[in-house]
Every structure is written in structure tokens, then in C-alpha cells.
């Protein structure tokens, strides 16, 4: 993600401080980022090699791997999910999207870490998700009432983070804190990154910690 684009978003804004997340995020506070499993055999080795070669074919030297969500639209996944099954799936959930994105960025030589989010959603959407996920035999524990657990991926370059939402195929902004799909809470990196901080479009974010981005000034 180019630094120049970051600068465009808040060119005159002073750095803002994040806050501790609210209680709405509590159900997922202890969740760890999803990871594809490997059978330790040719099936998963070839699947992963195919995936990485595909990513290098799609990559134009910049940008996120938008092809992942185009190839595997968002939908239920059963976990544990292995590489050989994931690449043949018709659709994948955000955890699979995020892990594959992580692998792609790392294969490109870019430092990347998992991102966990709790996003605000329409409360009445939960019933649709529960039905779809349970019908596919997948866990729907990610879907709450008015909020949902989500996974993404962050690139870290020169102390700056950019968050790629693999499921949407877009870079996320910490300013998106109001309305549907807005960020109620976010954690960049895991406990192993504790003590590090990164700048996410002007927001100083401690890694490995759940935070709530501040609302930008309007008007």
C-alpha cells in the first residue's frame, strides 16, 4: 500500500489516540487468527505452491491480492481447513481469505501480520448469517447481534501499517468508525508483537492489543 495514499486521507490531521474497546467486542477478545492446516503431504504442498504461483501471476508489483476474494467469494468454511481443501472450495470465509493474504504478502517479501476486527452490522442480518453458516455445517460464532467478528491482514512497511480486507478486496481506514461495517474494535498482530506500535493512516496503534479507533472530526 503506497504511503502517498495514506497521506491523502488525513493530510492536515494531528495523530489521534485509540481507545479501549467496548463490551460489544468481548465475545471475541480471546480469539486467535485463523490459519490453514497442512496435511504434511503432497496434496497440501502442491496446493500451497499453486496458490503462491497464482498470486505472483496476479501481482502487478503493488496492491493487495484482490484476486483471492474474486476467486473464492465470501461464504462458510469448515474448520480446521487444509490447504488442499481450501484451494478447491467454492467459497471461503474471512479467516481463510485473511490467512491466504498473509501468505501471499509474505511470499512477496512484505512483512505482514494478521488483523482481527469487530465490525458493526445491521442487527437483523445475524439471522441470515446463522442460517447460512449452520446450513453449511460451519460455526457461526463470529456473528453477533449488531456486530460481527472479522479477519484481515496488515502490511508493515517502515513502521506504517495498511490493513487489507481480503474479503472486500480493499484497504481499510481507521476513520471508518460509523455505520454498517464500521470498526468497533481492531487488533493488529498478536501477542508476539506486544510492545510494538505502528502508524495506521495517522493513528498510532499498539500491536497485539484490541483498540477502538477514535471518530474523526467532521465538518
Amino acid at each position: 500500500m503506497p504511503a502517498a495514499e495514506t497521506a491523502a486521507r488525513r493530510p492536515h490531521a494531528a495523530p489521534a489516540a485509540p481507545a479501549a474497546p467496548g463490551a460489544e467486542c468481548a465475545p471475541w477478545a480471546a480469539c486467535t487468527p485463523s490459519a490453514l492446516a497442512h496435511h504434511g503431504a503432497d496434496c497440501c504442498t502442491a496446493a500451497r505452491a499453486w496458490f503462491l504461483a497464482m498470486d505472483r501471476s496476479m501481482w502487478r508489483g503493488h496492491g493487495g491480492p484482490g484476486w483471492i476474494a474474486r476467486r473464492w467469494p465470501w461464504g462458510p468454511s469448515q474448520w480446521p481447513l487444509h490447504w488442499c481443501d481450501a484451494v478447491k472450495a467454492e467459497e471461503l470465509d474471512c479467516g481463510a481469505h485473511a490467512f491466504m493474504t498473509l501468505e501471499a504478502f509474505r511470499a512477496r517479501g512484505i512483512r505482514a501480520v494478521p488483523v482481527q476486527l469487530v465490525q458493526r452490522q445491521e442487527a437483523h442480518h445475524q439471522a441470515h448469517w446463522l442460517g447460512r453458516w449452520s446450513g453449511a455445517g460451519a460455526s457461526s460464532a463470529w456473528a453477533g447481534e449488531g456486530v460481527a467478528y472479522h479477519e484481515a491482514c496488515a502490511t508493515l512497511v517502515d513502521g506504517r501499517a495498511e490493513v487489507w480486507d481480503s474479503t472486500v478486496g480493499a484497504w481499510l481506514s481507521p476513520e471508518h468508525v460509523r455505520g454498517v461495517r464500521s470498526i468497533a474494535a481492531v487488533r493488529i498482530g498478536g501477542p508476539e508483537h506486544a510492545g510494538e506500535t505502528v502508524a495506521w493512516r495517522g493513528l498510532c496503534v499498539p500491536m497485539g492489543v484490541w483498540i477502538t479507533p477514535p471518530a474523526p472530526r467532521e465538518g
Partner: protein, 771 residues
């Protein structure tokens, strides 16, 4: 009239169409209505189809005659009268801004920039941008020879826009679509002053601003979120302008003494560069979105013009979207009558405000391009300007002089020996430069491009390999003196027609599909030093050739097949795609991805890739200027990805044969139109030049002094002898003024597929295969 006392505001707003490609007048009116609730707002437009005329935001409508028929002095006097009455005029169309700026100079009330400022922001150069942190994407004037335009299109991977001087752009994804776009735009705008500009991928953004007598009053940034199929804004977000841009813009506007609205349209490329596409001398159509984000630019402009402080408006959000809504049509301006449904003419206009007509009127007033021949009942010569001729290959003149062209029966394809020798010498030099490295470099002559014995002999003497796609070509190569170990076999029908096997081992053989490979495994593969598969790159999945890698199952099958090769058999991989279809830069991108696939395959198979065969369809100039200089670096990259690589083979395709032959033809008839256009019917036909529609061919005629010289462009056509509508050999030539029946013309660049794919149609015979 002094405005010190803040007189009641009367504002004329032109350009009020509101459709998928709207003008800004309606948005400006909505912003002014909020800021000056009691203002008298007058909608001005030049066609009753302009939908915004019917909006209730306006107090009055001043409908003008269409630009095609309007009497400019009469209209100018009327505009001056309303301005003298103390009204303001905010034009919403670029060309009307130009006209007002030129006609009214700095008359008060017309909120337009000075003519010099408009000159400084004219496309494509946009000279004023030199002081801004923007880059101008590469461009070329369409008045260059077709040969150069084709090179520009290839250079930028056919991701190029053909643009008019003021409005409208069309994508040119290949040569036929470029020619179509050029013809449409030239016809619409009545000008040859078109240009081609590279497409820049990235985020589309704008900066809208307003300035008064050189002082920047306010500016906002807008990023498109969604857009129409035409690329027009549908939803977006408004925010502050980057400080660096705002400061530079203020300085530039001061230097230009800018008055009025304006918009910079640019693309933020992934590398962070800002690529300026357009500098519009008027507000954008989304300007009211800036107003409800707290920046009412039209009001700031009116305030600066002396009409008092605008009413404050509440902030209502930075993001905006457009909606579609129905409004009553004003009784005074009813819709035009419904067209006869049996009339095939297009319904509606892309330009309801008549901008193409104004463009012609302004060009006529400036003494430039002629006006529409239909306007005011006058007929004009609309023959395009003559464009320069392309540069011929250095040896071409010698070859033509020695071929005794005027004495040959026609149509006749002739070998150009010096030109051919130059092409092979190029390969020879590249082979010499690549010799001695850890990876052996080879070039394959594609027999299918032209199996002429002289060319095959030259290829053999140059040390090239023979690349064949059938048993017939294989035997042809062997007859031409190529030993089996210098033959590379590929293609989907290698076994056709059946015949004796070559005595020795081939250099390489590549199966065209998993099915072909399976047949090899069942029946025994060809004897070849390297055996392998042709790969179909995933970014050119439309290709019919090669093993698809786009699905994990196919990849796993490919690995399984290659693992089944006999022990000790050296593995090779093959990738071909026409470089002139992708453009060299994109071809190199695909090449890089092929290296990743090859590395993944050798890891998965557990057998090293020892031979890589790449190429296909290089345009001669690109082969010389792009591929050959890049080979050392590309070979090194291949060796790094494939550490056991022994041999790197390049198949240049038509790059060798294309310039090496020309088609001589005799003029049968010359038709000179009343508009000056010339059509010549010749005894050659599309069957002799089947690639005529797909790339420009350099055509040579006799100069006044009798020498052969390349012809420029001017819209003259060369028509073939066959009674078929598509039999047009060239459609944009400048034929010699003295051309007459019996004269000879030579069509160059006809040595590759024009030769090998020529057919018998129209000769009164059938090909053997038909019988």
C-alpha cells in the same frame, strides 16, 4: 453597476443537462440557492433535450438556438446585455468557457479565466501543471504516422485512450478499435487534432476549486467510489486537498489570473504519483457534494464577485451518491416529438448541449478545421490534413530498386534480400552477445511465419533453430538443411500429417495440452533432448494453447504427468504468447510469472527444468528495441529461478519474416471524390494481405522524381480487387496526387502471416484441401 451594496443576485448558469454524463449547471444552481435563497437563477442551454432545464431550482429558462445554427454575434450581444444589467454568468461547458473568454475578454460578470490561462491548461500538455505536483501521462499526437501510433499502442500494452481535444475519450484495445475510435472522434468533433494517451490505473480523484482574479478562494478533494460505465462519478467522498497541492495550485492560479471554477482530474497511481488527465475550466458536476460537505465553492465565487456573504449551510456529510429521479417537464418546453420508431437513427444524443457543434464553430472562427458541412447549408472540403510518412527500413530502398518492381507481373510478393539479411543479422548479433554464458541461448525461426526456402536457408545459416508445429513443417525444415537436433516441435497437431520420423533426436518437443502429453505417455513421446509442456499463463487464460494452470486440480494433474516422464529425460517448459497483442511490458510481466510457475513445477515434479522456450509474435521493432537488449537480464532471472537451466530458447515469431517481403500491386482504377478523398482499386486483395486490418503496413509509391518513397496518411483508401466489402487494404493513406491506373504500389511488411496465410479467394481456383 457597482456591487458594493450587494445587489440582488441574478446568475445565468449554462450547461444544465443532468444525465449519466451531467453538466455542472444544476449542481451550481443548488449550491447557489442554498447560499443565496433569493437569487434569480437562470438556466441556459442549447437544446431542449437538456434535462436540467426542467428543474424547479431555476427561476427562469433561457433556451438558445443549437450551437450549430446560433448566430454568434447576435448571441454575444444578448449575453453582453444581461451582463451589463449586473448579472453573473457561470458557464458549465469547457468550450463555452473558451468562447466567452475569447469574446468578452475581462468583461465583468462573466466568471471565466483569461484566454491565456485556458491555453495554459489545454490538453494534453497542460503546461500550467508543470508547477504542480502532477505528472502528465505519456501521450502522442494522432497526426503522427500510423506506424508510430501502433508503436505507442504496443509500448503501453494497448491500455491507451484516444482523446478529443476537449471532450470524449475511447479505449483502444487493439488496432481495429483504435482506427474505429479515431474515425468516430474525428467525425464527432470535426477535427484531426486527436491524441493518444496512456491509461494510468489507480484511484480516480479530483480537485475542484474556485478563484477570482487570481486568488484561490477555496478547493476540495474528491475521490470517486463508484462510477458509471462511461467513467463518470456516481458516488464519492469529499475532503481537504493535500497541502502541497493546494499551495502549488494557489500559486499557479495567481500566475494565470484565474477567475471562475475549475477542476483537476487525476489518477493516483499505485506508486503514489498523481497523473493529471484533465484541467477543466469550470466546476465539476458533483460540485454540490462539496457544498454539503461545508465548501460551497460557487457561493465563494459569487461572494468574491461582489454579492455579499452567503448564508451559512450545515455540514451534512463528506460522502455522496447520485440518485435517479423523475421531475415534471415544464409546459413551456415540452419534450421533442417521439421519433419514428422505424427510423434506424440513434435515439438521443451523447451531447444534448451540442458541444460538437460549438467545437466546429470555434474551429471555423479561428480559421482551423472546417465546420460541419451540413451547417448553414454550406459544403466544405473535409479532407483530413496530410500526416507524415513513416520511416522505411534502411535497406528497403535498395531492395525496391533492385527488384525491378515496375517490370513484375502483379500482384506479386517479393523477397527483399537486404532487408531479410538485416533481420537475420540482428539475431546473429544477439547470439554472439549471448554466447559463452552458463545458459545457452538459442533463437527459433518460426516456420509457420514464412516457410520460403530463402528465409529457411538464411535461418539455418544464422544458426537458428527451426520451430515447427506439424509433421509437414518438420519435413520442410529437414529438407532446408536443419538437422533434427536443431528442430523444436510444438503445436496442437504435431502428428499431422503422419510421415517418417526424423533420423535423430529433436532439440525439444512440447506437448500442447495435457491430452497430448497423455498420448505421448501412452504411445511414446518424440525423441527429443528436452520434453515438456506448453504452459498457458493464468493472466491470458483466453489462450487456446497450453496446459491451463488456473485451477489447482489442473496444476496437480500437470505435476503428475510430468513426474511420469521416463527417468533421465530432461524437462523443458514452453510459453508463447504474441507480444504485440500484450505489448512488450505486459509480455515481460507474464514472463516473470511463468518463471514462478516453472519453479513451482520443478519443485512439485522433483525434476529440474533444464530448458525454457519463450516467445511468440514479436513486432520487429519491439524485438530489436525491447527483447534483445533485455535478454541478458531475463536469462539471468530464469537461471536464478531455475538453477539447473541449460538452454534458453527465444522464438521471435514474425519479427524476422514480416519486413522481409513486400507485395507489389498495380492500380486498376483511381476514384477521386468531390470532397478530395481518393480511392484506388488495385489488383491485390485481402487474400494476398490477410493481416491488413490488424497492423499498419508501410505503403510505397513513386515520388515525382521516380524514386520509391513511403506514403503518409490522409484518409485515402486502397481497395482490393475482390467483390467483398471487407477487401480494404489500407484506409488512411495519402495517395500520390498523380496516381493513375497502371501505376505500381508496394505494400511493405507483408512477409510473415500475410505471406503464409494468403489464400486463393477470388482467383477462380480452389485450394487442394477443398477437393
Amino acid at each position: 453597476m457597482s456591487r458594493d451594496t450587494h445587489p440582488p443576485l441574478t446568475c445565468y448558469l449554462s450547461g444544465v443537462h443532468s444525465g449519466p454524463n451531467p453538466s455542472p449547471g444544476l449542481g451550481v444552481a443548488r449550491s447557489l440557492r442554498e447560499a443565496y435563497p433569493h437569487a434569480r437563477l437562470v438556466a441556459v442551454d442549447y437544446g431542449v433535450e437538456s434535462s436540467g432545464l426542467h428543474s424547479e431550482i431555476f427561476d427562469e429558462v433561457w433556451l438558445q438556438r443549437p450551437w450549430k445554427e446560433i448566430r454568434l454575434p447576435v448571441y454575444l450581444a444578448a449575453v453582453q446585455e444581461v451582463l451589463d444589467g449586473g448579472a453573473l454568468w457561470i458557464p458549465g461547458q469547457d468550450l463555452e468557457v473558451e468562447w466567452l473568454a475569447e469574446s468578452l475578454a475581462r468583461r465583468g460578470g462573466a466568471l471565466v479565466p483569461p484566454p491565456a490561462a485556458l491555453h495554459a491548461v489545454a490538453k494534453p500538455r497542460i503546461e500550467a501543471a508543470a508547477a504542480l505536483p502532477f505528472e502528465i501521462p505519456p501521450f502522442v499526437s494522432a497526426d503522427r504516422p500510423d506506424w508510430e501510433l501502433h508503436a505507442f499502442l504496443r509500448e503501453h500494452g494497448w491500455r491507451v485512450w484516444v482523446k478529443g481535444p476537449n471532450y470524449e475519450a475511447m479505449r483502444a484495445g487493439d488496432w481495429p478499435s483504435f482506427r474505429y475510435a479515431r474515425a468516430v472522434l474525428a467525425d464527432t468533433w470535426g477535427t484531426e487534432s486527436l491524441f493518444l494517451q496512456r491509461h494510468v490505473p489507480g484511484a480516480e480523484e479530483s480537485v475542484a476549486f474556485c478563484a477570482y482574479q487570481g486568488e484561490l478562494l477555496d478547493c476540495v478533494h474528491m475521490r470517486k467510489h463508484t462510477q458509471t460505465h462511461e467513467g463518470k462519478t456516481w458516488a464519492g467522498a469529499v475532503g481537504p486537498v493535500e497541502r502541497e497541492v493546494a499551495q502549488a495550485l494557489a500559486a499557479v492560479l495567481a500566475a494565470l489570473e484565474w477567475t471562475g471554477g475549475g477542476e483537476l482530474e487525476y489518477v493516483r497511481a499505485p506508486d503514489g504519483t498523481l497523473n493529471l488527465i484533465d484541467w477543466n475550466p469550470r466546476f465539476p458536476a458533483w460540485i454540490h457534494a462539496a457544498s454539503f460537505a461545508g465548501h460551497n465553492l460557487p457561493a465563494r465565487l459569487v461572494e468574491a464577485a461582489g454579492f455579499g456573504a452567503p448564508a451559512a449551510a450545515p455540514f451534512r456529510g463528506r460522502q455522496f451518491t447520485r440518485v435517479v429521479m423523475e421531475i415534471p417537464v415544464l409546459a413551456a418546453y415540452p419534450l421533442p416529438a417521439v421519433r419514428d420508431p422505424l427510423d434506424d437513427a440513434a435515439v438521443g444524443s451523447k451531447h444534448p448541449s451540442g458541444m460538437p457543434d460549438l467545437a466546429r464553430r470555434l474551429a471555423e472562427a479561428r480559421g482551423g478545421a472546417p465546420a460541419d458541412p451540413r451547417a448553414n447549408g454550406k459544403k466544405h472540403d473535409r479532407r483530413p490534413r496530410r500526416r507524415p510518412a513513416p520511416t522505411p527500413p534502411a535497406a528497403m530502398q535498395w531492395d525496391l530498386d533492385e527488384a525491378l518492381v515496375d517490370e513484375l507481373p502483379t500482384p506479386r510478393r517479393i523477397l527483399l534480400p537486404r532487408t531479410a539479411q538485416e533481420r537475420f543479422a540482428q539475431v546473429e548479433r544477439a547470439l554472439a552477445a549471448g554466447a559463452g554464458g552458463p545458459v545457452e541461448l538459442g533463437f527459433g525461426y518460426s516456420v509457420k511465419t514464412n516457410p520460403h526456402p530463402s528465409l529457411l536457408a538464411l535461418a539455418e545459416r544464422t544458426g537458428m533453430l527451426a520451430e515447427v508445429i506439424s509433421g509437414a513443417e518438420l519435413r520442410r525444415a529437414l529438407e532446408a538443411g536443419f538437422p533434427a537436433e536443431r528442430v523444436v516441435l510444438n503445436g496442437p497437431a504435431q502428428q499431422w500429417p503422419a510421415g517418417p520420423e526424423p533420423d535423430g533426436e529433436l532439440m525439444a518437443a512440447f506437448a500442447d495440452s495435457p491430452q497430448s502429453f497423455a498420448r505421448w505417455l501412452d504411445g511414446g513421446p518424440p525423441r527429443a533432448r528436452y520434453l515438456g509442456l506448453r504452459l498457458r499463463p493464468v493472466t491470458v487464460e483466453a489462450s487456446r494453447f497450453g496446459a491451463s494452470l488456473g485451477a489447482p486440480e489442473r496444476f496437480a494433474e500437470t505435476l503428475a504427468q510430468l513426474r511420469a516422464l521416463p527417468a533421465g529425460q530432461a524437462l523443458g517448459l514452453h510459453f508463447h504468447f504474441a507480444s504485440d497483442v500484450l505489448g512488450p511490458a505486459r509480455w515481460f510481466e507474464v514472463f516473470e510469472s511463468v518463471l514462478h510457475w516453472a519453479a513451482a513445477i520443478q519443485d512439485g515434479v522433483g525434476r529440474p527444468v533444464r530448458c525454457l522456450d519463450v516467445g511468440g509474435g514479436w513486432f520487429p521493432d519491439d524485438f530489436d528495441r525491447e527483447l534483445i537488449p533485455a535478454l541478458p537480464e531475463r536469462i539471468a532471472a530464469a537461471a536464478e529461478a531455475l538453477p539447473s537451466l541449460e538452454r534458453f530458447m527465444v522464438e521471435p515469431g514474425k519479427a524476422i519474416a514480416q519486413p522481409a517481403m513486400a507485395l507489389v500491386t498495380t492500380v486498376l482504377e483511381v476514384r477521386r471524390g468531390k470532397d478530395g478523398a481518393v480511392e484506388a482499386v488495385v489488383d491485390a486483395a485481402i487474400s494476398d494481405l490477410p493481416m491488413a486490418p490488424f497492423y499498419p503496413h508501410r505503403v510505397y509509391g513513386h515520388s515525382a522524381a521516380g524514386a520509391w518513397e513511403p506514403l503518409g496518411g490522409r484518409g485515402d483508401r486502397l481497395l482490393g480487387r475482390i467483390c467483398m466489402e471487407t477487401d480494404i487494404l489500407a484506409s488512411d493513406l495519402a495517395l500520390p496526387d498523380t496516381l493513375a491506373a497502371g501505376d505500381r504500389l508496394v505494400i511493405g511488411d507483408a512477409g510473415a502471416y500475410d505471406a503464409s496465410m494468403a489464400y486463393n479467394f477470388g482467383r477462380g481456383v480452389l485450394d487442394d484441401a477443398c477437393c
